[in-house]
Amino acid sequence: MSETFMDQVLYMVILVAKILAILVPLILAVAYYTYAERKVIGWMQVRKGPNRIGPLGLAQPFADVFKLLLKEIVIPENANKFLFLLAPVLSLAPAFAAWAVVPFDDWAVIADIDAGLLYILAMSSLGVYGLIIAGWASNSKYAFLGALRSSAQMVSYEIAMGFALIGVLILAGTLNLREIVLAQQGGVFDWFWLPLLPLFVIYVISGVAETNRAPFDVAEGESEIVAGFHVEYAGAGFAVFFLAEYANMILISALTALLFAGGWLSPFEGLPVLGDTILGEGNIGWFLLKTVFFMYLFLWFRATFPRYRYDQIMRLGWKVFVPITIVWVMVAAVISVFGLVERGV
C-alpha cells in the first residue's frame, strides 16, 4: 500500500462528510414528505390539512418529531428487550445504506460500483428483518400477525421487482446505476419506460406493495390488526420505523426515476429548439423533479384506492405480476439481441 495511514483516515473523513451530505437532506425530505402527504390528501378530500403550526402549517413536521422524541419509550413487560430495541435500527439502516449507490448526477454518487443494482436489491431485502424482529420481540399477537403479513408481502413482491430490474439490465447491459442512466440518453422516448412499459408499471405497483403503502397496507390495516408490526412501539422507536418507511418510499421513487425515466437526463434532449437551451442539458434538477413525481404517485394512490384484501394481494403478486414480468424479460432479450433499442447515443 503506497498510501499512508493518515491518507486513509482523511479518506474516511471525506466519506463521512459525503454520507452526511446525502442523509441530512434525506431526513429533511422525509419530514416534508409527511407534511406533503397530509396536505395533498387533505386537498383531495376537500380538507385543509395541517395549517396551525407556522405559516401554512410548515413547521408541523418538526412539531411531530419533537412530540415523538419527547414521549416516553414504553417497553412491554414480556417483550424481548434487546431485540425490541434493535428492530427499529435494523429497519432504518438498510433504508439509508441503499443510498450509497444512487447517482444524483453524472458525478454525484458516493460509490460508483459495478454491482450497484444488486446492492440495492440486497439492501432492500434486508429491510424485512426489522419488521419480523419487531413483530416477534413485541410478544403480541397483533404485532406478530402484522409482521407475518408484511414480510410475506415483501418477499412476494420482491420477486416481481427483481424480474423488472432484470429487464432493465438486459437493455442497459450493465448493473452500474450510472451507466444504466447513460444507456437511456437521447430524449424522453429513449428512456426505458417505453420499451419496458409493462415492467415499468409493475415496478411502480410492486414498489407501493414493497413499502406496505396503501392500497397494499394490510400490514397495518387499522380495522383488522390495530397497526401491524409496530403496534407496541411508542415515541422514538415508532419515529424510527416511520422514518424508515418514508425513506424507503423516496428510495423506490428515486430508483424508478433512474431505471425507467432517465435519471438526471433531460426530457428535451435532442429536440430541435428546446434541446439546445439549458433545458436540454441533464442535471440534478431533472432527477429530483422525476423523483418528486413518483413520490407524489404514492400519495395519489393512497387517496384514491380502497385497501386490497390479503388473498387478492398474493394473487396479484404471484399469478399476475410474476408471469407478465417473465414474458417481458424474454421480450427485452429479443429487443436487445436484435438491437431494436439504441443503447445510449
Binding site: M1, Q8, A115, L118, L126, V128, I132, W136, L175
Partner: protein, 204 residues
C-alpha cells in the same frame, strides 16, 4: 497497520463470535439471527478481497431470502426449550468424535508440506483500478462455464417444479374463492332495481 487490516480483524472477530453463538445460544431465534450476523460479516470480508459480486449475492440470497424463511419457521414453532437441553449428554460422544475428525482433517491440510505449504501460493498481484469483479464473473459464466451454468439453471428449475408438484393437492370438498371472478363481477349480477308504486299505508 493499515485501515484494511483493522477492518479485516474487526469483521473476523465479529464473524467468529457470531459463529460460536449460532451453536451455543439456547434460543433458536437468537441462533438464526447470529447466523445472519455471521453471513453478513463474511460478506464484508469478501468485499475486502475485491469480490464484491459474490459478497452482495451472499447477502441477497442467504441473508435476504433463505434466512428469512428460517426465521419464519423458528418463530412460528412453539419450541419448548427444556427438551432441547436433555439430549446434550447423550449426543456428546458422537459430537466429540465428529469434531475431532474435522479438526484432524483441517490440520492435515494445513500441515502438509506439499501443495498447501506456506509459499506454495504467492500473494496474487493487486488488480488494476478498473478491474470489475462483476464483469469478470459474468464473462466467465457466459463463456468458459456456460454449460455448467445452464445445467445449474435447469437443476434449479426442476427443484422449483418438484416443490410445486409435491405441495399442490386438490382436496375434494375444500371451498376456495376465485378472486378473478370476484373482481369481474358487475353491478347487474348483484343488485336488481325494482320499479314499483308506493303502497297505501296499512290500516288507513
Amino acid at each position: 497497520m493499515s485501515i484494511y487490516e483493522i477492518v479485516f480483524y474487526l469483521f473476523s472477530a465479529v464473524l467468529m463470535a457470531a459463529a460460536v453463538m449460532v451453536v451455543t445460544v439456547r434460543n433458536p431465534v437468537y441462533a438464526a439471527l447470529s447466523l445472519v450476523l455471521a453471513f453478513f460479516s463474511s460478506a464484508a470480508i469478501w468485499m475486502l478481497l475485491e469480490v464484491e459480486f459474490l459478497a452482495i449475492i451472499l447477502v441477497l440470497v442467504y441473508v435476504g431470502a433463505v434466512l428469512v424463511l428460517f426465521l419464519f419457521v423458528v418463530m412460528m414453532l412453539d419450541i419448548n426449550l427444556a427438551p432441547l437441553k436433555e439430549g446434550f449428554i447423550r449426543y456428546l460422544p458422537a459430537g466429540v468424535v465428529v469434531a475431532l475428525l474435522m479438526a484432524v482433517e483441517l490440520l492435515t491440510v494445513l500441515w502438509t508440506k506439499g501443495r498447501f505449504a506456506e509459499g506454495a501460493f504467492p500473494v496474487p498481484p493487486p488488480n488494476p483500478p478498473d478491474y470489475s469483479n462483476t464483469k469478470a464473473v459474468g464473462q466467465w459464466l457466459f463463456t468458459n462455464y456456460l454449460l455448467a451454468f445452464e445445467v445449474a439453471g435447469v437443476v434449479l428449475l426442476v427443484a422449483i417444479i418438484a416443490a410445486v408438484a409435491l405441495t399442490l393437492r386438490h382436496r375434494p370438498g375444500s371451498r376456495r374463492q376465485d378472486p378473478a371472478a370476484q373482481v369481474r363481477v358487475q353491478r347487474d349480477e348483484r343488485v336488481r332495481l325494482v320499479k314499483m308504486d308506493p303502497e297505501p299505508r296499512q290500516g288507513s
